[in-house]
């Protein structure tokens, strides 16, 4: 088992290196530069932008810049943002808790919706409930989050005036009031992301349960007189959840990227909005760091999914 993990990790290294080279080259070749605004300002002499470019090493050839980035990254130095002149790791750590809170809540909401609805649909396939659930699920994952986000703002903020549409990382309140404010402002972004996740997962849970429920051992369980709730709870769901758990693990990096737009709409100061503002400002070190973290997440959660699968299903062995 541990040999398998080590082997997977070793294989991940060239993959990550390749990803980083591609990312770095694309960013270096992309138009725009972080000091464009300075260049068009008549009060800033043109030497200033040139000096800054030289100081931050932007005029060096791309392979040299990549080598410099890689060596400092290996030493744990993520570089600093050209725009704010703050260390990149500080910036990311500042944003991480907010992102994790929103994403975690969204994922939990998604599961809370998907599990009961998916299972119930599978137990009574093609019933009225199943038809409605299926329709809603299709609508749910067909609508992009930026659209649902705007609809939510229109309905809950502008028409009903119930919820604020600007998210604040630090609320100036304590105790119950803080929790209340936090719940109010997180409601819309979490709902947008969570329901999107939930819609996909519902379909997946339904098909997984349908696969299992037709198997012989379920019939056996019923035949020997077990109650329906025990049959479903103990024998069906547990086995049906194996692929669902791996799916959730595989989806996690995807949620991070899907979250980018939602964060922008609701002004959630998370990783996603940091990525967007850095892209707009051509702040290469920050873009590089965040996209690289995302690629690490993909590789890591692929591994986690494989591990979970083996742990849940003893028939699978690692070699």
């Amino acid at each position: 088992m541990s040999r398998y993990v080590i082997r997977r990790l070793v294989i991940a290294v060239p993959a990550l290196l390749g990803i980083s080279i591609v990312l770095f080259t694309i960013l270096a070749l992309a138009p725009g530069d972080p000091f464009g605004e300075l260049a068009s300002n008549p009060n800033v002499p043109r030497e200033v932008a040139q000096q800054l470019r030289a100081k931050f090493g932007l005029d060096d050839p791309i392979p040299l810049r990549y080598a410099r980035w890689l060596t400092s990254m290996l030493r744990g130095d993520w570089g600093f943002s050209f725009v704010s002149r703050v260390n990149v790791d500080t910036l990311i750590l500042q944003r991480l808790p907010t992102s994790l809170f929103v994403l975690g809540s969204a994922q939990i909401l998604g599961l809370l919706v998907a599990l009961p609805i998916g299972t119930y649909s599978a137990l009574r396939p093609y019933s009225v409930f199943d038809q409605i659930a299926t329709t809603l699920a299709f609508i749910g994952f067909s609508l992009p989050t930026f659209f649902t986000g705007l609809v939510f703002i229109l309905v809950f903020s502008l028409w009903l005036d119930w919820l604020p549409f600007i998210y604040r990382a630090d609320i100036a309140a304590t105790g119950w009031r803080w929790w209340w404010e936090q719940a109010r402002q997180a409601a819309m972004p979490v709902a947008v992301l969570g329901l999107f996740q939930g819609a996909t997962l519902t379909r997946f849970v339904r098909s997984a349960v349908l696969d299992v429920i037709r198997l012989d051992y379920v019939n056996t369980a019923r035949a020997k007189g077990l109650s329906e709730s025990i049959t479903v709870g103990k024998h069906v769901i547990r086995n049906a959840l194996i692929p669902v758990v791996t799916l959730v693990a595989l989806q996690i990096p995807g949620i991070f990227t899907g979250d980018v737009i939602t964060e922008q709409i609701f002004r959630v100061p998370g990783i996603g909005s940091l990525l967007i503002s850095s892209i707009l400002a051509n702040d290469t070190p920050v873009i590089m760091a965040i996209t690289f973290v995302f690629s690490c997440l993909v590789v890591l959660f692929n591994l986690v999914a494989d591990m979970l699968y083996g742990w849940l299903d003893p028939r699978i062995a690692y070699r």
Partner: protein, 598 residues
């Protein structure tokens, strides 16, 4: 209007026969900027209008929280590193300059005890030095006194090239700064400087404390902890800063203006987009103030019907204009197109440029596209008043354009496009991608078609168009097309720097990596001469006449066609008072006086 007539008018103001406001309006109509007018009056000994309408609170604080929204978030809080207004505004909550520019462009003292002038002897007659008397008993937020040493230090800090300060342009014309006493500094310039309020004033003039930055001058500038935790003299003290997201401040109990500020806390939230920021202030009232409303006017009007806030329009000097390339964009010479060694095949013909000037329907563009966000104008150098120039006139007249072209020998070909000496009047018209600009392009193309000019429209992604990438041929400074349209911003109330974009030594070329500011590549000895004369002219009246002359030269020769004079627009809650937006300074220039009513 010549120098003599101007002097007569000023005497009228002095004697009270003409109101100050009327004089300002007349001058502005002539294309003189309001700050310059203020300067003219000040030098002639007419007191400036210092009384601003405001309430008079009897105690400091008690206003609770004021929430402001910037759709581009501040990313750093050291004013000398600021890369845009968002950073300057963020820093301005905590730091202050010696003086600010009010909406009329007057110098308004903040850390200075009074405004220097030739009359009070603080500005030398030859323009070589200015003496600032600092306000006494001003303390930094950590309790240390603010003194002349801090002022001198800021100059040294900025001038160290290793600091890489973005404000260096304001300070490099200074020869020395002498500390006269603890509360007086004397700035000596390298040459006569009529615009003596360049350094230490306005958004780029914010002063940082010597005792906290002394150890971090030059190469180590990035490491200063105070870059992110400012300690200033401003109305609010630092609480918390998350780059790219939120700035929070709390009231400075020892602020140097009595009974100010009104609010106990301030928040500057960043990110998102302009339209939803407008909603948060104008429609839902979630926020009190939002910056730079780049939103279509009809949307803003609809939001205003909700009644919780309104749009606040301040005049600035930013013209949206069309530039006529004087060089040939289609021939490559020494590795560059639009080289100064070439001549444009037809835009060098004055008749063609005259015709272009007649084909821009400025009234329609103003009314149908920009609404309150701009004014149609005939001038390149505009100023903060609604009166139009009397010197320069604009008109939209297709028939006249046709006559001009006919008279110059441009004959219509079989396809309706005019030809002369085998050259066809076909031009490529580029601008950045932006809904308003594409609509404007369409309007102009249609009119040009009626006059036998064929326009091919081109639009470039803004991040490319406005970049300084030397390898990309689509930037505005490469100008590899016949005509192009964008807005140049006037970041300073004094037009000297702004008007250098038509001087011959600023021609953009491969040699200066296309960073020269003269994009149209027009060269005129007369213009150069007038510009140079204005640079060191100490008589504000003569200087004003020189700027009028520069504007008129550019407009008469149709080097540019001004399309619209753009305003600076913010959204303000109905209950928030005293914001007093100034197009010449930071949105927070008057922050200490912000208050809430009702």
């Amino acid at each position: 209007m010549d120098e003599h007539a101007l002097r007569a008018l000023i005497n009228d103001v002095k004697a009270g026969r003409l109101s100050r406001r009327a004089f300002v309006q007349t001058m502005v109509g002539l294309g003189v900027t309001a700050p310059l007018v203020a300067q003219m009056l000040a030098s002639a000994g007419v007191a400036s209008a210092q009384t601003r309408p405001e309430n008079n609170p009897t105690k400091r604080g008690g206003g609770g929280l004021v929430k402001t929204l910037w759709w581009q978030a501040a990313t750093l809080l050291n004013p000398h590193f600021a890369t845009g207004t968002k950073d300057q505004d963020g820093s301005r909550i905590f730091y202050e300059p010696l003086a600010c520019y009010d909406p009329e462009g007057n110098v308004f003292p903040i850390l200075a005890a009074d405004v220097p002038s030739v009359q009070n002897g603080l500005v030398s007659k030859d323009g070589l030095s200015v003496t600032w008397r600092l306000k006494k008993n001003v303390a930094w937020h950590d309790g240390k006194p603010f003194t002349a040493d801090d002022v001198v230090f800021n100059w040294e800090y900025v001038m160290d090239p290793a600091t890489a300060a973005t404000t260096i342009g304001q300070y490099r014309d200074i020869k020395t700064i002498d500390k006269v006493d603890a509360n007086t500094v004397k700035i000596t310039f390298k040459q006569p400087t009529p615009f003596w309020s360049g350094p230490f004033c306005g958004p780029t003039g914010q002063i940082i404390p010597k005792h906290l930055f002394e150890a971090f001058k030059g190469g180590k500038s990035r490491e200063a902890p105070t870059n992110l935790k400012p300690v200033g003299t401003g109305p609010y003290k630092f609480v918390d800063f998350k780059p790219g997201d939120m700035i929070r401040g709390e009231i400075n109990p020892n602020y140097h203006v009595a009974n100010r500020p009104f609010f106990d806390q301030i928040e500057m939230k960043g990110g998102g987009d302009a339209a939803s920021a407008a909603r948060a202030v104008i429609q839902t009232g979630e926020y009190d103030f939002a910056w730079n409303m780049q939103v279509a006017d009809d949307i803003l009007k609809r939001l205003e019907q909700g009644g919780k806030g309104k749009v606040d329009i301040a005049v600035a000097g930013n013209p949206e204009h069309i530039q006529c390339n004087q060089t040939d964009p289609w021939t490559e010479v020494d590795g560059e197109r639009s080289s100064a060694k070439t001549k444009h095949p037809f835009l060098t013909d004055p008749a063609v440029r005259q015709a272009l000037n007649l084909l821009v329907d400025r009234a329609s563009i103003h009314e149908q596209i920009y609404g309150r966000l701009g004014q149609s104008t005939a001038n390149f150098l505009n100023a903060p008043e609604r009166v139009r120039s009397k010197n320069m006139k604009w008109e939209f007249n297709v028939d006249k354009a046709n006559q001009v072209l006919d008279a110059a020998g441009w004959k219509r070909g079989s396809d309706g496009i005019r030809v002369k000496d085998g050259k066809k009047l076909k031009m490529v018209f580029q601008t950045s991608i932006n809904p308003e600009r594409q609509k404007t392009q369409q309007i102009i193309k249609q009119a040009a078609g009626k006059a036998g000019i064929d326009m091919e429209l081109k639009s470039v992604v803004p991040s490319v168009f406005f970049s300084s990438d030397t390898a990309n041929p689509d930037t505005y400074s490469h100008f590899y097309t016949d005509i192009q349209m964008y807005t140049t911003t006037m970041t300073q109330p004094d037009p000297q720097r702004f008007m250098d974009q038509f001087t011959s030594w600023e021609v953009a070329s491969k040699d200066n990596k296309w960073q020269g500011r003269n994009i149209a590549r027009w060269r005129s000895e007369e213009y150069d001469r007038v510009w140079k004369a204005a640079e060191s002219e100490m008589d504000p009246v003569k200087r004003a006449a020189q700027f009028v002359k520069m504007n008129d030269l550019v407009i008469q020769n149709v080097i540019v066609v001004p399309v619209l004079w753009r305003m600076s627009v913010s959204a303000v809650s109905n209950r928030l008072k005293g914001t007093d937006a100034s197009g010449w300074d930071s949105n927070f220039w008057h922050l200490a006086y912000w208050h809430r009513e009702g």
